[in-house]
Symmetry: C2
Subunit: 329 residues, 2 copies
């Protein structure tokens, strides 16, 4: 088994295995994983204590089967990916600040990319042609200005943002694609080539274990990683109550800048961005506006975004029942 060069240097093979096993155990999520690590010092000790914890707390803690963990590690290796642990020196600094930072990620590509200043660009899948053009232009310009463009590889704005960053002259700063599926699954299918290109020329990141299909409940989790990697999140075009607004809200909650490109109130596809601006997001009209805002970001909380009481519903994400059932852009 290999858990990747970077992590072999910092933790043992057994501890790496134990961490993966602990995280895949039922009822262990990123937050409880962190609590167990703080309490027991390492994953091997936490795993040993799991049965007792279950007996005492009444919660059905039980460690994931070792053969399933072994199969997962083989699948990660087969996909050309590697593991990245929360305490690795390569783990992206801003993402590590999240309370819910993923304890374990699978990645393909160059982690150097994620160490540069990142800006997240998100938006509707069912977007206007003008918004695709804007997203592409902003992303290329930002990448040429030293900002890595982070997005979610969805149709529409996400795809245009990645494509724009990849089109940057002299390579640009690069792009990071964060996917809601396992690292070995291309979604949406028409972005399979784009996903492969990001893995080869940028960085591809997945939190779910290999083989995981992109279910609706994975998208908000994926969105927190997009927002968490970046100094700020730019929403290009979004309808009210769309998933992009969740990403923006998560960025604001993490003290990151929230930016939105406005549009006519006559176009419902602009109303989410306009509402974000009403809620305190910074209106941006040009890549220069983004660069001016994010330059000098030092990780300190400084977002001007004030979250409204409204609940955003991720109705532009794939439905849980059928992940392929989504609007084409």
């Amino acid at each position: 088994m290999s858990t990747g060069t970077a992590d072999r240097e910092t933790i043992s093979h057994d501890e790496a295995f134990a961490r993966i096993r602990l995280l895949r155990s039922p009822n262990v999520g990123p937050v409880s994983f962190a609590q167990l690590m703080r309490r027991f010092g390492d994953a091997m000790s936490a795993l040993e204590a799991l049965p007792d914890l279950a007996a005492r707390g009444g919660k059905p803690y039980r460690a994931a089967p070792t053969d399933r963990v072994e199969a997962e590690i083989a699948a990660v290796k087969k996909a050309g990916a590697r593991y990245l642990f929360h305490d690795s020196p390569d783990y992206p600094a801003l993402l590590s600040q999240l309370e819910s930072a993923p304890p374990v990620l699978t990645v393909r590509g160059s982690l150097d990319v994620a160490s540069r200043p990142c800006v997240a660009m998100v938006g509707a899948r069912n977007c206007s042609a003008a918004a695709v053009k804007l997203a592409r232009e902003f992303a290329q310009n930002l990448a040429e200005s030293g900002f890595v463009v982070v997005s979610g590889l969805a149709r529409g704005i996400d795809g245009a943002a990645h494509a724009g960053a990849l089109a940057a002259r002299q390579g640009g700063a690069g792009t990071v694609g964060v996917i809601a599926s396992g690292i070995d699954i291309a979604y949406p299918p028409e972005h399979a080539d784009l996903q492969e290109r990001i893995a080869n020329e940028g960085l591809l990141v997945a939190e779910q274990p290999p083989g995981t299909e992109p279910l609706a409940r994975h998208f908000p989790s994926r969105n927190r990683i997009i927002a968490g990697l970046a100094a700020g999140t730019l929403v290009v075009e979004a309808a009210p109550k769309s998933g992009s607004l969740i990403t923006a809200r998560l960025a604001g909650e993490s003290g990151r800048e929230v930016m939105a490109i406005p549009g006519s109130p006559l176009d419902s596809r602009s109303q989410g961005c306009n509402q974000l601006i009403r809620d305190g997001a910074v209106l941006v009209q040009s890549p220069e506006d983004v660069i001016e805002l994010l330059s000098g970001f030092d990780g300190a909380i400084r977002s001007s975004f004030r979250e409204s009481a409204a609940h955003y519903i991720a109705d532009d994400e794939p439905a849980a029942q059928d992940p392929a059932d989504s609007a084409a852009c």
Copy 2:
């Protein structure tokens, strides 16, 4: 000579004549008029002191010729208009708060209209069809919700705002047209009917004496009256450095709300509004947003607008050389 019913009740015929004469005297503007009134108590005394003031201060103060004032008063009467003095109980309360409040206005129509809550709507003359539609819909809705729509009778957004207010069901709250020319001059010519309709169904206001052609230098003065009458100014569509932004700036300086309707950064006609929002204007998407913001406005300074250092140039106003040389909408 008649100076109008409302003012006959509060000041004498001779004082009314003296005020008009004082204001039309060379080098006497609204601010120096107010200073002279404070110093001498009334216009008759100020006029008597003018020659001495000229001798002492070196400034060429000299009273306007009485025959010119008599001719002006006759022209106001002939136009079906009347004078409105700053200390009249009918003088609009919010406008009177301006340091540069016009000491004397000429008006046609019902002063009751200006006593209701007012919202100013301004924007580009060379505007998009979508913006005309928005302006008309906002104005009608606002007028039906009890807000008087104040604008400048220009082509484009101004005309659409007046028309929308006039189309309000059951008459609506009404509309006020503030013109840069004398009360007896229709400008632009294609709005002559609209101007007459506003005089008959709403209120028409002019600061310049009758016979005055609309020169470029009159437009910023006119704009301060539009902004000054209203609890807030809504900019519907405006290019960067346009006259509408001057009105917005004047509203902000007077502590009134500044609102703007956003648009795509790809459309230069939206960039002035977008920049206003970046400078602190409230983004509004619907008439309800305006009503929510302005309801309960009590005249106290509460604008969230922060003026940027940028200088706005009124390049969408008619040039001084040729007032008719303006973009058609």
